[in-house]
Every structure is written in C-alpha cells, then in structure tokens.
C-alpha cells in the first residue's frame, strides 16, 4: 500500500492493514465500560482537543489531536497525548483512542471537536466510539453560574481564571488550558453536590434543554 492511500479519505478499511493499529483497536474494544457513578476523585477523565485548518466542519481538515488525562482530580503532565495526523492518521487516531480508553471525554465545544473526532475515527479506523462526552462550553456557565454576560469562548474563560498556556490554537496547548478549567470545574461541582461524570452529563443535558434560566 502506498503512502498516498493512507492520506486518501473514505477508506475505513485502511486501518485493518496496519497490525499495530489493529491491535490497539482490539485492546480498546476489550476495555470495560466506565462506571459513571463514581466520585470525581475516583474517575479518570480525558480532555481531548483537535487542531484543524479552520472551524468549518465541511471544508477544514484535521491537523492534530491532543489529550490530557485527569485522574484523581489532578493533571499529571506525564499522562498526556499529542499526535499530528500527518503522516499516519490511523496511528495518530488509534493512539488517541487507546489513550482515552473508555473514559468520559471532556471537550470545549463538542459541536466542533466531537463531530470532528467522530468523523475521523470512522474514516481512519472504521470505528464509532460512544464515550460520554462532557462539553465545558455548557458546563462551565452552569457550574460557575456566570449569567448571560459571562465568559463564553475559551479565551474568555481562560482570562476569567487567569489561565495561561504555552501555545494557543495548538491541540495540546488548548487542551492544557481546558484541563485546568476542568479541574476547577470539578472542584466547584463537587462542592455543589455534582459529584460524578453522570451528574455532570445530566447537568449538561438539562442545560442544553433549557439554555437560559427561567
């Protein structure tokens, strides 16, 4: 198989040709489903983030993926993942999937990140993972109760928390900021009695149904 084939979209079966990726997929599939009722400090979350040529789902191309695990409520720099899609998108996405395991995935703006990742996984690996997605775009205003004039975009939230990162608009750089936002959210949510992944997911669903306070 030529290197061109790998870059060509629309060939899900291409992953099957790489034994390493295939094994990684098998291992991932064998993982048990997570217990979403466990308290935050006992749950492994993974912040995932993408880097693309732009924000248009139809025309822009995924460049790189980044992920940071949050286990026990802390960010351990050693538990992180970053891979550009070039030259081996299947390896990059397979590695990401293996890193994530079956953990609840935390993103900022699922509308773009989740859709991008789901498409990429289907396209390059031929799989359709169904993790629990947690979207900070919805959860942050819900937990911090910032009201209609509060922060909205990632940059605004970073400013509100005085969070810095080593590189903006970089898959891992932004993931680092999002991870910090997420541990802050965990801390505050715990105090409010929103103590598990399931509770966060429910909060997000309610929030999506009733976007504005009545």
């Amino acid at each position: 198989m030529s290197w061109l084939d790998r870059l060509r979209p629309g060939r899900p079966e291409s992953a099957a040709h790489d034994p390493a990726v295939r094994e990684a997929l098998a291992r991932w599939q064998a993982l048990p489903a997570p217990d979403l009722g466990r308290p935050h400090f006992d749950t492994r979350y993974v912040v995932v983030n993408t880097e693309a040529t732009g924000l248009d789902l139809e025309s822009d191309r995924l460049l790189a993926v980044g992920a940071i695990a949050i286990d026990g409520g802390v960010i351990d720099p050693r538990h992180s993942y970053y891979a550009p899609l070039d030259p081996d998108p299947a390896a990059a996405l397979g590695g990401l999937l293996e890193f994530c395991g079956k953990a609840p995935l935390v993103v900022f703006n699922a509308g773009f990140n989740r859709v991008t990742l789901e498409r990429a996984w289907a396209q390059w690996l031929g799989v359709e993972p169904e993790p629990v997605w947690l979207d900070l775009l919805w959860l942050l205003p819900a937990v911090f109760d910032t009201g209609p004039d509060g922060p909205l975009r990632l940059a605004q939230w970073m400013k509100a928390f005085d969070i810095e990162t080593f590189q903006r608009h970089h898959a891992l750089g932004d993931a680092w900021a999002i991870a910090q936002l997420f541990i802050a959210l965990q801390g505050r949510a715990t105090v409010q009695g929103i103590g598990s992944a399931r509770a966060l997911a429910e909060l997000e669903r309610t929030r999506r149904q009733f976007p504005s306070p009545t």
């Binding site: 720099p77 928390f161 080593f166 891992l172």
Partner: protein, 632 residues
C-alpha cells in the same frame, strides 16, 4: 524538532516554576525532575488544603495561581504572623514535610487556587538531588530558628521590662503599706514598732494620714540615745519636721535626684491629696540599676575576698538573664558565662595564691567536662584537675602536697561561689587528679588501650580538658599527644562511637517525643550530650585541638568533607537545645528550684516544639554518620 505531549506540558510547568525562587536557581535536572512529577490540583475558595489533623503531609505544594492562607493553629502565636497569605510561586509546608510530621499550620484556599503538588517521596528525592532546593529548605528552617530566638527575646524583654527601671513611677516601687504613727505616740512605742517591723524609718502623720514628720535610724544616735531622751515623751518632739515628699507619679530617677540633693535616704511618697502612700529608700532605688557586663567583670577582678566574689557570682546569673533579654544567642551566651566563670575562677585562684606559695612550680589548672568545653550552663558542678612538672632532683610528694592544699582551698572557694563540689570527686584536690604530664599520659593511654565502660566514661569527661590557669603549654602538649594516640587507635574510636550511640534522640514514631517517666525530655542526657559525644569523636579522629563542641564540629566538618550547610544545621540544633537548657534553668532558678535540664514538651510553644524536634533530627543525623563511619 518535535516534542512529545509530556515534554510539552513539563516544559510549561518548568517555565512557570522558573519565574520564582528557588526554582529559578535550581539545577536543570532537578527542575526537570520537579516539573515532571508535580501534578496540578485545584482547590476551590474556602477549602482546606492541609491541616494539622490530616497527619503527616503527603504532598509538598507550590501555588500556581490563586491565594492560600496559612493560619496558625494551636494556642500560642509563635511566629511573627498568625495568618499569612501566600501567592503564586510560594510553597508549603516545608518544615512539616521535611520532618515528616503533621503541619502546625492550616492551609486554606483564600480564593480559587491552582496548586502543584509533589509527593512526599519525590520531595525527599528532590532535596537529595538538588543542593539549591536543599539549601532553600534548610534556610527556611533556620529562619524558624531565628524567629524562635526573637520570641525568646520578647519573653525576656518583657520580663526585663517588668523589672523596674529608673523611669518607673514611685507608686509602683512601694512594696508595703506605709507604717505611720500619730504625733502624740510615745517615742518608745514608735521605736518598738520600727524594731518589730524591721524598718529604718517611721513616718509621723495626722489623722488624715498627711505626713508631718519622720524619724530614721540614723537620727536615733544624735537625738535619742546620746541626749538620753525620755522615751515616754511623744515622738513629735524628736522627729524631723516637714519631711521630703514626692508624688507617686514621680519617677525613680526624680527620687534619686532628690535624695542626692538633700542627702536623705528615705523619701515619703504621697498621693494627689498629700496623703501618705509609702516610703522609698535609697536601697530600693539601687536595686533598680542593671548590672552590666563591665561592672561584673570589674567587680570580679577587684574582689578582695570570697564574699565579694559570691556577690559577683550572683551577678553573673542576673547578667545572663539580661543577656538573653538582649537577644544574645546560645553560643555567645554560653561563652559569656564561661568567660565570667573563668574570670571568677582566676580571681579565686589568685586569692588562694596569696595564701599558698607555689612560686617556682610549673603547673596548670585544668577544667574538664562542660567547663572544659566552654559550655557551662547555670548549674554546673566543678570538674577540675591539676597538671604539674616535677623537676629532676626534686621530691615529688612534698610538691604535690603543696598543690593539693592549694587546690582544696580553691575547690572550697568555688563551692562557696555557687559551683557545687563534684559528687564524683573530679576535683583538683583529689590526689588522683593532680598529676604530672607523664602520669596524665599514662592514665589517658590506659583508657585508650583498655577501653572498658568506665574508661570510656572517663574519656568523655577528661578528654574535654583545657587550661584555665597556669602554664598553657602543659595543656597543649597533652592535647597533641592525646590526639595522636587516639587517632592511631581506631578500635578505641569505634568503642567511643558505640558508647555515644547508646542514647538515641527522643524522637517518637507515633508521638513527637519519647518522654521520660515523668513526662519530660532530658535536654542534657538525650539532647546536648549526643552532639557533644559525636563532636569529641570527630575531633579525636581528625586531630582537632579545640575542646568546644561547636568548634569541634566546624573544624572536623571541614576535614571530613561534611557540607558547610549541613554542619550549620547541626550547630543550630545544638545551640537551640543549649538555649532551651539555659532558659529552663534560668526560669527555674528564679523560682529557687534546681535546674535539672528537663523540659516538658507540652509546655513549649508550637514553634519551639517544632524546632526541638528538628534539633533532635540533627542529632540523629550525627549518629547515623557515626554508625556508618564505624560500621555500628
């Protein structure tokens, strides 16, 4: 060049850390180690990050963003602050995690805070691999020591301030209710009252207690006794009219001036309405004046007899209190005490030499034990001896008898001045301790070659000798010989080390301290001695001439290649224990109880307790070194 994700994140952490001290100076590998292992946690506003109840801290924390308040828990405010707010780059706890004991502060997030945390094992590794970080932590603990000293100063300054000064209002100086009689009282009755109450002066006042006159002891001879005054007659006929009075608000200085101007020894103190409130005497004022170092020294050197020296000995104790109040550290303090005690001993010997003719005898007065080490505290027995040269063709015994008689006088005089006779008879008047250089060498040599337990005990007292009076060279030569002999005998050193290791520092596994049966810690036996014993062995091994523990540690540390900051920490620990001993002895002797070197840790304030524990850890370090060096 591409970086892996961990590399990128570790880089972000280390970039952050590098903005703060001490991380900016940290060795690159150590910083990488820290940045790689530090995980980031979040603490919502108001949450407790670390409290004493949580037990031994499991993490070392470095604030990344936000504010954390350190709040002192425990009854006493021991540091300069009771609460302290810390911001980015600051870390906690340092003392608690190094000592592996619960924190004494409670750390609470004052606002939403991101805080790096490093596991306790990684913290220990970091201390080991990073000299910069090690120094940072050591200095932090040293600053605690400093704060404790300041605390000590405050306590004693307060006490000193409570002692009156010349600016004290007279009202505060009056010790007892005024004694007065009415003018029509018979002179006999008034004099009987003076005798009964042992007062030097009686006031005559009207019914409203307004003073009208005064009669003092010095008036009796010219006005009563010599003129054969009829004692049945009223006192108003012999009293001094219109006595000098001062308001209660006047100062002691005013009173002294008034007395000096009018040549009187008593002044009447009256309140705002002229009513008698008390009598102030010249003696009351004199006792206010502080004793200065110079005065004590001068009074020792000028003392003509033992009585004068006894007073000087009391003054030395008094002075020690003042010196502590002035914030002098243990090292200087013990040296001052040692210097003054030396001066006192010198003077006692000089006075004894007026009665004993030792002309032509080549001898030296030796001090042993703590006196030999310049480490006397306030309740030290005498430990002394003599070394003398017996010239050829001279009979030794008569010579020795002369020396012994002289020594007996000196020992007795020292005892009279507050240095108790040694229970073990380690005194120059003991014929066994009045020896020629050959005899001393023989004795020392026997202990070294046959080190039974008694010999080792002896070595721990006598090997700390120094010359206090007489021919210094006799001591120097003995020291050179001793060091050479002991240095060559590693079996002896090893036994000394084994002996020194018999008492472990009283550090507990569950509690802070292992206590004696009476609930105390013996600061001498299981504190200072551990340092002293180790220092002695180091000195013998490295051939150090000094007899003091601190000098021995510093000088032998250089020769043994112990890092200077490590030696400094050990010395600080030793000084702190000595300071606690002095303080305990001083406070106790002020209450007329014997100083016994014991301290109940529960009575110490939080900070002192912490530092005491740290000091014991330093002792443990020393012991570990001995154990390793001698394979024990």
């Amino acid at each position: 060049m591409t970086h892996t994700a961990p590399e990128l994140l570790v880089g972000a952490s280390s970039d952050f850390l590098k903005r703060f001290s001490p991380f900016d100076r940290m060795e690159p590998e150590a910083l990488a180690f820290l940045a790689e292992r530090a995980v980031l946690a979040f603490h919502p506003r108001g949450s407790e990050i670390l409290t004493p109840e949580m037990g031994q801290p499991r993490h070392f924390h470095i604030i990344q963003r936000g504010k954390v308040q350190a709040r002192q828990s425990g009854p006493a405010k021991v540091t300069e602050y009771s609460t302290l707010t810390m911001g980015p780059g600051e870390c906690f706890p340092i003392g608690a995690i190094s000592a592996q004991r619960p924190s004494t502060n409670a750390y609470v997030a004052e606002e939403d805070s991101f805080v790096f945390q490093l596991g306790v094992d990684d913290f220990m590794t970091l201390m080991r691999i990073s000299p910069v970080f090690h120094l940072f932590c050591t200095q932090y603990i040293a600053s605690l020591l400093n704060q404790s000293r300041q605390q000590l100063q405050t306590t004693f300054a307060q006490r000193a301030a409570e002692q009156q000064t010349m600016t004290t209002p007279l009202g505060n100086l009056i010790k007892q209710a005024p004694v007065w009689v009415t003018p029509d009282t018979s002179t006999r009755a008034a004099l009987e009252k003076m005798a009964e109450l042992r007062i030097g002066c009686i006031v005559v006042a009207d019914e409203a207690q307004h003073p009208m006159g005064v009669l003092t002891q010095s008036d009796l001879l010219p006005r009563v006794v010599l003129p054969a005054f009829d004692l049945a007659r009223p006192i108003e006929e012999v009293m001094t009219l219109a006595p000098r009075t001062l308001p209660a608000t006047a100062s002691a200085y005013d009173a002294a001036l008034e007395m000096a101007t009018h040549g009187v020894r008593h002044l009447l103190v009256v309140d705002g309405e002229g009513k008698l409130t008390g009598v102030v005497s010249e003696r009351d004022l004199f006792s206010l004046q502080r004793i200065s170092l110079r005065q004590v020294r001068a009074s020792i050197e000028g003392a003509a007899d033992i009585e004068a020296l006894q007073r000087a000995a009391t003054d030395i104790r008094e002075l020690a209190l003042n010196l502590i109040a002035q914030g002098i550290g243990a090292e200087q303090l013990t040296r001052f005490i040692s210097a003054l005690n030396d001066a006192l001993t010198h003077r006692i010997i000089a006075l004894a030499l007026e009665r004993h003719d030792l002309y032509g005898i080549d001898y030296a007065w030796l001090a042993f034990g703590s006196e030999g080490r310049h480490e006397q505290t306030l309740s030290t027995d005498q430990d002394n001896g003599l070394i003398f040269v017996c010239p050829e063709l001279v009979e030794k015994e008569p010579l020795k008898l002369r020396l012994l008689e002289f020594a007996r006088d000196v020992n007795d005089d020292l005892a009279a001045c507050g240095f108790p006779l040694c229970k073990g008879n380690i005194m120059a008047s003991n014929p066994e301790l009045c020896l020629t250089p050959e005899e001393w060498r023989h004795r020392f040599g026997k202990w070294i070659s046959e080190p039974d337990p008694q010999a080792l005990l002896n070595a721990s007292i006598f090997f700390d000798f120094r010359v206090l009076y007489g021919n210094q060279r006799l001591g120097d030569q003995l020291r050179v010989w001793l060091n050479k002999t002991a240095r060559a005998n590693s079996a002896f050193q090893r036994l000394m080390a084994g002996n020194a290791l018999q008492v472990a520092p009283p550090l507990g596994r569950l509690r802070d301290f292992v206590l004696e049966e009476d609930g105390t810690v013996d600061l001498k036996k299981s504190g200072a001695r551990l340092f002293v014993d180790a220092a002695r062995i180091f000195a013998l091994r490295t051939g150090i001439g000094a007899s003091g523990t601190v000098q021995r540690l510093r000088q032998s540390g250089v020769r043994m290649g112990i890092p200077a900051d490590e030696v400094a920490a050990i010395v600080d620990g030793f000084h702190f224990i000595q300071l606690l001993r002095l303080r305990a002895q001083h406070l106790e002797t002020r209450h007329d109880a014997p100083g016994d070197n014991k301290v109940n840790p529960d009575t110490l304030n939080e900070l002192d307790r912490r530092i005491l524990k740290e000091a014991f850890r330093q002792a443990r370090k020393l012991q570990t070194r001995l154990r390793l060096d001698y394979q024990l």
